[in-house]
Symmetry: D3
Subunit: 132 residues, 6 copies
């Protein structure tokens, strides 16, 4: 159960409404998911987090789908159930197929495994991997 | 310092040499990095890990560069220095630019941050994100 | 669902009852929360954990509220739902307001984010930060 | 070894210099630590991270020292060596004594321990801890 | 709620059925738990994961019960609810008593605690612990 | 570099010396490793941690070697370099062979991997694994 009330659009202050409006306009959708309704309890966190996510997840040197895949990978590693659900949904909207999701999880599982082999054996970084 | 000796090609048993040969042939390179030389101390782990990595990181529904980016994202989240170095090097060989690396880390940082907002507020998963 | 039965006061052995009594006396309350009822299945763990928490969370160079905030920060980072709930409740009893909770989560989110930028870029520690 | 060159003030672009200037003015100091010199390789990350940290770590419902303690607690939990060093230094400047640092680590250790007892026993959250 | 449908035996393809059959034969049981029914959505992951688990968890220099205890310790540290339940059940079948489970969790809690003291104080590794 | 001075025996206060003496007597050795010399900066932490470790790691329902293996597994998962070194050394003294260490790391790697498959697919816990 949420630690705070979820703030619905009709109950929101003008500054919160302005963020909700921008979220819906940017995402071309007519609803706002619970993440925003929860952090809206602290308007500076809402505004800052939305501006960060809008900037970081925008198309750039990496395309938006790749960014969503990376986001899901981190969320699975950290076991954030909310984020796994919300960003898997975003990734699907941007083109992630069932096969891509399965391969994504296979890579995440592999990396989590090999990270521990490298750490457990305390393997020294090869000179060839270091910058000149 | 490594917990085990690194096994060089010339000191390796035939079964270890066979894996080293396959690594070099698959990667079209003439050397083997320390990760393999360390886990070669336990040949079943060497063989199994190489077969897994060869299968999982191969081109599929996700291209090899995307897989490397996901691998780096997990390694940064877990703070595996060896894996960050080795897979950043792999990703660069497959086309990752400085700009792409910077955007990758920005997404990893964002996801690690938002994961904690979602967990800290114990935000309930929206019905819309659940499968029908 | 709990992995063990929760041991209620009336069903407890004298040594478990003694710890429950001390918990209630120390906290000036008339009930014991599930954490203790679960670990009471192993009386040495119950006794040791209670003695540790009583000593570590007592007023010292840091005041009890600051200690609860730190406890919540760790629990959010590790995603321990039980601990987030129980220690947020403790922090509120010691004076944490909604605004303080929101700022706490904002710092936790920021630190989790910046930790990955520092690790991902493998940033060397400045000499100025090292002890002389 | 850093994954990128550290960008010194004299080599920085005007937009990077502007952030460095603001960091030094805000912190009333005449140098910039490596964290900023590393992320300056990606000016949008530099600017966004600095603005976030300036806003989140400013005095608010929580005082700046408490925020630094929380920041160190997260960094210790995640094992970010750079962040432990840099934010321990910041905390000391804001008044953290040796005794406070020792108590901070004792709370961090305790929380990391109790988090696993709660997760391992899968202890259900008490109704009394839930919001009405 | 699962991100994928669970694939029941009667709906499975021949290659999936072959893995299910081997799981049941190896474990001398007549059912397959949800883990396999979920990852069966990606047959290569199903096959590879089963082969790995069969090889790694088999009797070797470490006996199967010790391996299950280690598996539970990792799952508790990472807070994987599914894995805690499934591998605690496996450990019990292999002889883990309530007392052993309680001691296991006590060690896991202690290690998670001491890990943070070592990291927080940045304690240098003793020469005596390094290999000659 | 350590965040605190390491307190040598000859410079220690009587209460710290008493703990050092008990460590050496209990372990039948004539030296104290850096972990204790670092946390000795806060005598209550030194005393409490030593008493906990002496109680938890003692022979019980689990033998001391199994406890060390579990300790190493947690330390590898959390990437605590100090603890990996110190507890691998302890485990070797208690009988861990190279083969056992290799199998231990293989189980740790597997569990870290499967934890993410279970979390990523959000696999529901089977009824059969729940307590009646």
């Amino acid at each position: 159960m949420a630690m705070v009330d979820l703030i619905e659009y009709e109950d929101a202050s003008p500054e919160v409404k302005a963020v909700y409006d921008d979220i819906m306009a940017t995402r071309k959708t007519d609803w706002v998911n619970n993440f925003w309704k929860a952090i809206a309890n602290h308007p500076p966190t809402l505004k800052r987090t939305w501006e960060t996510i809008k900037e970081v997840m925008a198309p750039g040197a990496l395309d938006p789908l790749t960014k969503e895949l990376v986001y899901v990978a981190v969320s699975v590693t950290n076991n954030c159930e909310y984020c796994i659900h919300s960003h898997t949904a975003s990734a699907r909207k941007k083109g992630m197929t069932d096969e891509m999701f399965a391969e994504l999880l296979a890579v995440v599982a592999l990396a989590n495994s090999a990270n521990r082999l490298a750490n457990g054996y305390e393997i020294p970084v090869d000179e060839a991997f270091r910058r000149p």
